[in-house]
Each structure stands twice: as structure tokens, then as C-alpha cells.
């Protein structure tokens, strides 16, 4: 197992290099550059020589491989560079957005699993029951309704009718912090801002998980060993939750590999509509503003986390299914 892990980790390095090299080149090949976005206001049009000056100063005129190696070298020493747009170190720009995203995404994720797995199990156990149809209907509605539409519906239908109880947007009331208020009122303040974005995110991601859980459970329930368990006279609860569930979880785990990276990737649409100051918005703006260093740092981060996520999936397999062994 140890050797396997080491091999897996070492394999990640060339993969990461390939992924970052690709995204670095694509970013650079896109028309327009940070200097044009920054100077567009005035100088770029009045005095085009300034564009060249800035490109030269920032090293943007060097060949892409040279720039990539320089970027990689800096990253290895922990320097992610400077945001052209915000005139600040990239680590500061990302560091201030990441906590907001993690906060929202981790709770959303937790709730999604908490709701989706039991729903999937129930609709499998009671296949073709009214409950199964209801769950299926809900799941497909979640998938079919675009998140921006649900979000706006909630703003107009819930927030604006709540007499200020549920805010339309934002993450916290200005001035409400731990220094001046008790922790309970601060938590209550944060919670009321989270209700709508969480609803949108959980509603939208229920579908696939519920459906996976349901179909995998259905599959397992038809297996011989389940029939054996039942034949032994085990209680249905034990059959479902002890024998079937563990086996049915395998496919669900394998689709969870991308979760870690999607957690930091943020949700651009939800974050934008609810004015949630997360990483999704920062990343989206970085790409449109050609803020190369910021977008590269985010891509690198989600690349690393994707790989780690799938590594964890492989480890989790061993834990769930004793038949699987690595060496």
C-alpha cells in the first residue's frame, strides 16, 4: 500500500506539469492581455507604446515556454506572482476569497450527501412507490432548473417577502463581527445569509447523487448475497444498511473524486447572484481580465485537489471493499 501511494503521488507530478502547461499556453494564446485591460482606460489608445513597455516590464514578450518555466520556478519557491489587476500578491487575492467559498461549499456538500444518500436508498428500497416517484421528480427538477433561475426566484419570492429577515445578497451584515457582538448573534447573522445560496446549491446537486445511489442500490439488492442474507432471516434493515449499502457505495465514492476541487472551484453563478465573495468570482474575473497569475494559481490549486481527490477515492475503495488490494 505504501509503495502504491508513493507511486501514485510521483505520477501526479508529470500530470500536474502537463495540465498547468496546457492552461498556461491557452491563457496566453487568448487574444488581449492584462496590459490592454489595464491601459484600455486611456493610455493604450492614446499612446500604444505604453503597451509594449508594460509587456516588456512584466516579461510578457518572452516565449511562452520561457515564461512557463519562470512561473513554475517561482511557484516552487512559493511565489505565485502579482495580480496585474489588483496590484497585489496573488496569494492575498486568493487567500481572501478562499475561506468564503470553503465555508459555503463544505456545508453545501455535507447537506447534499446528508439528503441525497438516504433519498437514493429509500427510492431504491421502495422502487416504483409514490415516494420513489416524488424523489425522482424532485431530483430531475433540481437538475432541469437552471441555478440562476432558482436563485432569482428565491430572491424575489423569499428574501423580498421576508421583511428583511432573509437578505437578498451578501455574506454578512457590515459591522456584525465577533469583536462587537456575541458569537451567537454573529452565527445567526452568517446563517441567514447562507440560507438561499445553500438552497440553490443543494437543490442543483441532489440529482446525480440521488440517482447514482438509487441505481447502485437497486443493482446490489438483486445480488445473490442479499438473497442469502434475507434467506438467513435477517431483518430488512440489517440487510439494506449493513450488507447492501456498503457495496452500493462503491460507485458513489468513485464519482466523489472531483468533489475536493469543485469545492475550491466555487460556483460562479451562485456566487455572482448572491454577491458571495468567493473564489469562483475571482477566477472568472481573472480569466476575463487576463490576470494570468491569478487564474494560473487557481487552476493549479484545482488541479492539485482533483488529483488528491482521486487518490483519496482509491484509498477509500480499500476501506469500503476489502476485496480491493493495491501493491
Amino acid at each position: 500500500m505504501g509503495r502504491y501511494l508513493l507511486k501514485r503521488v510521483l505520477n501526479m507530478i508529470p500530470l500536474l506539469i502537463l495540465a498547468t502547461l496546457l492552461s498556461f499556453s491557452i491563457m496566453q494564446l487568448a487574444p488581449g492581455g492584462p496590459e490592454k485591460v489595464l491601459l484600455a482606460a486611456e493610455d493604450a489608445t492614446l499612446d500604444p507604446s505604453r503597451i509594449e513597455e508594460l509587456r516588456e516590464r512584466w516579461g510578457l514578450n518572452d516565449p511562452i515556454p520561457v515564461q512557463y518555466v519562470r512561473w513554475l520556478g517561482n511557484v516552487l519557491t512559493g511565489d505565485f506572482g502579482r495580480s496585474y489587476f489588483y496590484r497585489k500578491p496573488v496569494s492575498e487575492v486568493i487567500g481572501s476569497a478562499l475561506p468564503a467559498t470553503l465555508q459555503l461549499q463544505s456545508i453545501a456538500l455535507f447537506l447534499t450527501y446528508l439528503i441525497a444518500l438516504p433519498l437514493g436508498i429509500i427510492s431504491a428500497v421502495r422502487q416504483y412507490s409514490k415516494l420513489d416517484y416524488a424523489v425522482t421528480g424532485l431530483a430531475f427538477a433540481g437538475q432541469a432548473a437552471p441555478s440562476f433561475w432558482v436563485a432569482i426566484l428565491l430572491i424575489w419570492g423569499v428574501a423580498m417577502k421576508s421583511n428583511g429577515l432573509i437578505p437578498t445578497n451578501g455574506i454578512a451584515t457590515p459591522g456584525v463581527n465577533f469583536e462587537t457582538y456575541g458569537w451567537l448573534s454573529v452565527l445567526a447573522d452568517r446563517a441567514k445569509y447562507m440560507i438561499l445560496p445553500l438552497t440553490v446549491m443543494v437543490f442543483g446537486s441532489l440529482t446525480s447523487l440521488t440517482r447514482y445511489m438509487r441505481s447502485s442500490m437497486l443493482e446490489v439488492l438483486k445480488e445473490d448475497y442479499i438473497r442469502t442474507a434475507r434467506a438467513k432471516g435477517l431483518a430488512e434493515k440489517v440487510v439494506v444498511y449493513k450488507h447492501a449499502l456498503r457495496n452500493a457505495l462503491l460507485p458513489v465514492i468513485s464519482i466523489s473524486g472531483g468533489l475536493l476541487s469543485s469545492m475550491v472551484g466555487g460556483a460562479v453563478i451562485t456566487e455572482t447572484i448572491f454577491s458571495w465573495p468567493g473564489i469562483g468570482r475571482v477566477g472568472f474575473d481573472a480569466v476575463t481580465q487576463r490576470d494570468y497569475n491569478v487564474s494560473m494559481a487557481i487552476m493549479l490549486m484545482s488541479g492539485v485537489l482533483t488529483l488528491i481527490g482521486f487518490l483519496l477515492v482509491d484509498i477509500a475503495y480499500v476501506w469500503v471493499d476489502p476485496r480491493i488490494k493495491y501493491d
Binding site: 484600455a40 482606460a41 476569497a97 428583511g164 437578498t168 451578501g170 455572482t272 454577491s275 465573495p277
Partner: protein
Amino acid sequence: MRISRRAASLLSLLVVAGLALSACGPKQDPTPPGNNGGAQNEQPAPSTGQPAVGGNLNLVLEKEPDSFNSILYTTAYGAEIVTQLYATLFEFNEKYEPTPYVAESWEMSEDQLTLSIKIREGIKFTDGTDLDAEDVAFTLEAIMHPDYTGARASSLRDVESIEVVDKHNLKIHLKKPSAPLLTNINYGILSKEAFEGYSIAEMEKAPASMDAPVGAGPYKLKEYVRGQYVVMERNPDWFMSEQYGGAPFIETLTFKIIPDSQTALAALQNGEIDRLTPEASDVAMLETQFADKLTAYNWDRNGFGYMTLNNSKAPLDDKRVRQALTLGLDREAIITGVLEDRATIPPGPIPPISWAYDDSIEVLERDVEKAKQLLEEAGFVMNESTGIYERDGEPLKLTFFAGAGATTTEAIGAIARSSWKEIGVDLDVQMIDFNAMMDNYVAPGKFDVTFSAFNLGLDPDSMFNLFHSSAGQPDANGNVLGFNRARFYNDRVDELLEKAREEFDPEKRKEYYSEFQRIVVDEAPVIMVYSNVYTDFVNSRVKGVVNFPGFGATSDYIYRWYINEK
């Protein structure tokens, strides 16, 4: 300045010519609120109460502000904050004439090459230090410094040097006379002391550029939480306070970052924000359903959306073809169909709200017959089977490029296609990524027609950037990076724009601009499509709101707004 925010959101980032100028001004005449007649129209206040200090005003920023440094920021979001933080040399009244602010008085030398400025005495920065001539010189010299990393170097291109005479006097020496000088040097004054220990190249790293800005404006920074909000509080020691009867009145300003326009609209209706300029399509709804809650301020945009015609490429190198397209375009349909009737057709390149507008210029009505006649004069023959004009067997087919994703532009493309079809011109409408369009088609001149927008600054000199041949000269790679993408080269226009730039007598300047406008209208290098009529909605609890010509309920006058009354 909010006008630039709007431009940035509507038209990507290329069109904000007046940003540097408008960012810090226009400021108003030093007269008490409500006493100004003329173009400024203040809403009748529901009560006769006198303004009193207090209250909180909620405002919206669409995106994160980039910098709080008055010479480094580039976005309209940064401008909103910078406007409150810093004092500038001059204010501008509703006729866009300079009035005293940090500069108490000023005088231009006979040869028009030296501007002497007297700095008001007793001005304090918010950190308690003095604002004097050294700070003014520091701010301007930083922009002129070769290591300067911001985007304003060219605004000071005519300045030779800055001489500090004594603590309260300085002289600005010019390379050549420059009529728009006062708008060009009007930046928020930075504190020299606050940047001690930082080179000009490293200026952005100083705390005074972001976390701890030091200015002498009506408000100071209280709290900034990235991605969420900026809270500013009243500067009780503002040096203009006495002159404006104790202004600023509102105790705190909370700028909330709300990127989605539908969310912002909901927040306005819900009373969570106090001011918004909604999309044209939402104006009527707000006016009727929220009349008791919101006050509407209508204003004409000091700029326009326009079609750039490629004057260097056949068949648009022929003036008659350009005129025909202008006469053939159904601009009424665009304004009614796309802009909900909240726009007007600009008569010429200078909007009627400007002092430089020549009122003998009238809007050209659509005239299909005359357009066809002009095309025939240019040697085109109608092909009856296709309904398209031809010359030497080549059909009159044009390509229209526009940035994808902007619904207004897409609709304009569709209307242009159908209305030019009626005059026998076939238009191919291409919607592609904005940057790709600029780099691959517009800059290298591989287009016939494209659409963009332009905002004038406080001074009509901004016409120079749009129509002077120097702004349309291709670089070594054949790309035009200036605003004159029409590649319009007219010697007389060049001459007039140059003369107007160096002429200080307003009457003479106006004459130059009049002739310029007449030539542009006749030559038709571009087609002026619309000039928006915007509506700002402000929560009715806020009083003293100034509706400034060309800029609306702009943040520049928030120091005059008030919520509480005595």
C-alpha cells in the same frame, strides 16, 4: 465617476476615454445646495428641513474595486471610492467650467505656457498632515515619472515640468498651449509623506494605495472587506465643509459589492441599496410601481453608441456610400426596439448637452430613396434579381463585427441588416468574442462596420482621440490601437482639432468645433446611432441629490446629499 462604470459594463473596457478626467470631477459650484438654477435640476424636496449630519447611505459596486490610489486605479469601481477619498485641484460646475477646490485661484501666463496655481491654505489630510504644493507636485510628477505603472501618463503629455514656488504656490510649465489642461491635471491629491520609502514603481505596495489611503476628500475609509463591502465615514475636518453648510451630511457610506444586476435591482426595491441605474427595460416598472419609494433622475448620456465604418477600405472609402448607409440605417427602430425609447439620435459627434455643440446641426431623417440615389452616384447598379447593388459585378456586401454577448449590439446588428437590405446593401453580421474581434479584425482593419461606444470627458478635446488622424495610424504591424478605428484621415479636421486644443478663447474654440462637427457629419466616417437617456433611481429618503448634466446622480456630489434633517 459612474458614467465610466456604466460604459465599462456595457462595452467592455475599451471605450472609457474620459475616465481619468471624469474620475475626479465634475465637482460643483461652491454655492449652497438648491440655489443653482440652469441645467442642474434638483428634485423638489418633500420638506423644507435643513440638512443635518447623520444616517447611512447604501450604494452598490458591481465588482471589487482595484485600487484606492487616485492615480493607479483603472476601474469605475475604484473610482467610486477614490472620488470620496481625495480632494482635487478643481471642481467643475454644470457648464463644465473649473471652480476652486484645492486650488484657490489660478492664472495662465500670456504665452499660455505657464499655469500658476495658488493652493488653499490650511488643508489637512485625514492623517492630520498638511496638504501643500509639495503634495500636488508629488501627485503629478508621479504620473510623469518613467517608472509609473498606471494608465494616465498621456494625460500629462503637454506638461514640461512642475515647479514648487513655495508651500502654497506652484507653477506648471507646458511644452505647448493646452486648452483642456485643467481637466487633464485634475487628480486626487496624494500625500507625499504617505508614500515615503516607496519608489514610484513600487507605489502600489504602500499601505496608502489600498489599506490605509490618505486623502483630503469628504469621506475617509473606515472598513474594507474584500468581496463584500467598503464602508466610508464622514471626514469631519473636510476643508470645504463650512462653504457647503456643514457638508458632508451623511455619516457613513456603505458600498456593497453586488455583481448581478437582477440582484441589485431586488436590493434597490427592498431598500437595501439607495441608488441604482437600472437597465432601460426596468425603468418603466420602477417608475410606476415604486413611485412612493424611489425618486427618478433622468439625464442624457455625455456620449453615444456608434458604428465605425472602415474609411480606408472600398467601398466605404467613398463618402457617398457612407452617407447612404447613414441615411439608410433605421435608427428610430433601434431606439424604439432595443432601447425602449430611452435614447435619442445624436445629431453629430458632440452631444447637445456640451457647450461645444453646434445647434445648426440637425438629426438626419431616414431617407431610403436618397440613400439609393447616393449609391447609384457612387457607381452602383441595382441587381433586380437579388435586390442588392453591384459595382463591376461585385455585390455591395459588408461585414459587421460586434462583440458577442451584448444583447443591445446583437439587436442593432439585426436591425442594421434589415434596414440596409432596403437600400440594397447586404450585411453579414458576425458576433465573436470581443477581444478576438479587436485583435483579429478591428485593429488590423479587416472589417467594414463595427459597433462600439464613446464617452466624452468634461472637455470636447476627447474628439481628438476619435477623429484625429494620429489616433488612427497603423503601427508597425498594421494595427490601429487608437480610437480612430475608422481610419478617418482628414487634414482640415486634424487642423481644427489641433487648433481647438491650443485655443483658450471659448468663442474661438467653439467655432473650431462647429466646423469640425459639420465636416464629420458630412463625411460620415462613423454613424452616430444613439445617445442614451439614463434614469438614476434614488431612495426617496435621500434628499439634496444633484442631477448633474451628462452624469446623473453621480457620486461626486454625495457630500451634498442628506438623510437627516434639523
